[in-house]
Symmetry: C2
Amino acid sequence: MAYDAIETPFGKTDWIVGGAATYAAYAASNFIRPINQVSIVGYDFAQEEMDELTRRGVNLEGVEIVSDKKSFFWSGRYHMDMNTRDTLVTDLNVLTDFNPIIPESYQGSEFVMLGNVLPSLQISVVQQLKIRPKLIVMDTMNFWMDNALPDLKKLLTMVDVLLVNDSEARQLSGQFSLVKAAKEIQKMGPQYLVIKKGEHGALLFHGDQVFFAPALPLEEVFDPTGAGDTFAGGFIGHIAQTRDVSFENMKTAIIVGSAMASFCVEKFGPTRLKEITKRDIDGRIRQFVDLVNFDIELV
Amino acid sequence: MAYDAIETPFGKTDWIVGGAATYAAYAASNFIRPINQVSIVGYDFAQEEMDELTRRGVNLEGVEIVSDKKSFFWSGRYHMDMNTRDTLVTDLNVLTDFNPIIPESYQGSEFVMLGNVLPSLQISVVQQLKIRPKLIVMDTMNFWMDNALPDLKKLLTMVDVLLVNDSEARQLSGQFSLVKAAKEIQKMGPQYLVIKKGEHGALLFHGDQVFFAPALPLEEVFDPTGAGDTFAGGFIGHIAQTRDVSFENMKTAIIVGSAMASFCVEKFGPTRLKEITKRDIDGRIRQFVDLVNFDIELV
């Protein structure tokens, strides 16, 4: 949970709520409640944002509030293609003190999403869970591959699903072909691998099975910030709602995650996620069905 | 119809048959025969290649053989990502004399594919057809947008389907968003637009409708040369076979084209296209069905 300043070819905002846990919670709360949030914020994190999350069934008991520091702050500028961005400012602030403590009331959580953070902290969260969840999904990034690879590899043996983008999958596996990369990564632990390709969609790998979900072709991508975290929230939200961790259901979960991400990019930060209704979400999922549906007769 | 020298990270060939018409004919001949080929070659074009095409139902009456010049020759080197390449040599040779003449026996052809060549030559072909075909599909490239835009724009008013890649769609329309680009290009003439995104699949636009076909995730792309032309051949081959020019059937045609292209890239030049059987093609199409098929219940 954080604050961001974002500049895109279409506009600029100096101060908007953000952070992986915020996006994931907003997305997942459409499918399952409560969301047991674990995070850390500073004295500057607005009470109204906390209230809005609470109203949506997000339990904030596991969110530490530090009274003498600011929240994590990130500032970035997107290029015209929206796939590349420059980071202008990264103020860790409270994040330097982050030592996630799982509240007793969170024990027994069956579906766990580990947002992108220092791998040792993700490990700590898993180790605090007294009952092995039905599904542990993790996100990470190239920075930890460069700077915390031993911890990251340890964590990979503890989780079920890894979410990464294509360049991260290539870096982690040392393979250029995503099919080969997926095989290597499954050997490292996670039996399911989701490779996100931004505007080019996402791939799900499991053993020799593969599923592809497109991104919805949009007239305009206004702000891609948080799209990956929103995807993750929709993905695990659908799985938690259906309590079905099969490959077949994960395919649907990827479509749900893609639909949620397609809303996220329409406005700055999580603005659009706060507006949408169940009806909007169902309509968007129908667009995905139409987008890929075709008939063929094979003799 | 041409010869190529190709270098990829996986190997090198100094002399292999190529050319848009060759790839398109090999692909389409799996679905419809005869293929009425129009092209030009030099004295160096091997008789065995001609014989192989004839054996597959490719009518070569419209292929001019120039006895004192060589065939068009292209040489290129692919980078590791296989999406970018350097052209090393372009010897136009016979292509400088190309003035396509449609044989009388070709009149009445219902499904016409205009391969990528000087737009004035593509216009000439259309103008020679005494009966308007049921469907005219055209390919082109950025070079003609830079150097023959007035002819290209004239041609666009004469065709039904335009095939381009994403950067060409952006250049032609002046729009970055592919959704907006598709709207602009449809205003220029073609009522159907296929935007090819290489390893990221292809989009079909028609009015407000859009369909997405993924590329098959492959362990290895050995040589992408001709993949776009093979896609085009599979696309129009399926439409000619079914004689159905509806949007619904074009969706299937794009899957068929994608399946054919996925074979093409497995070996140098058209080598793999010469090997595959109907059974291979059906199996590959089934992989595409599995790749995108998902179940979702919306209440």
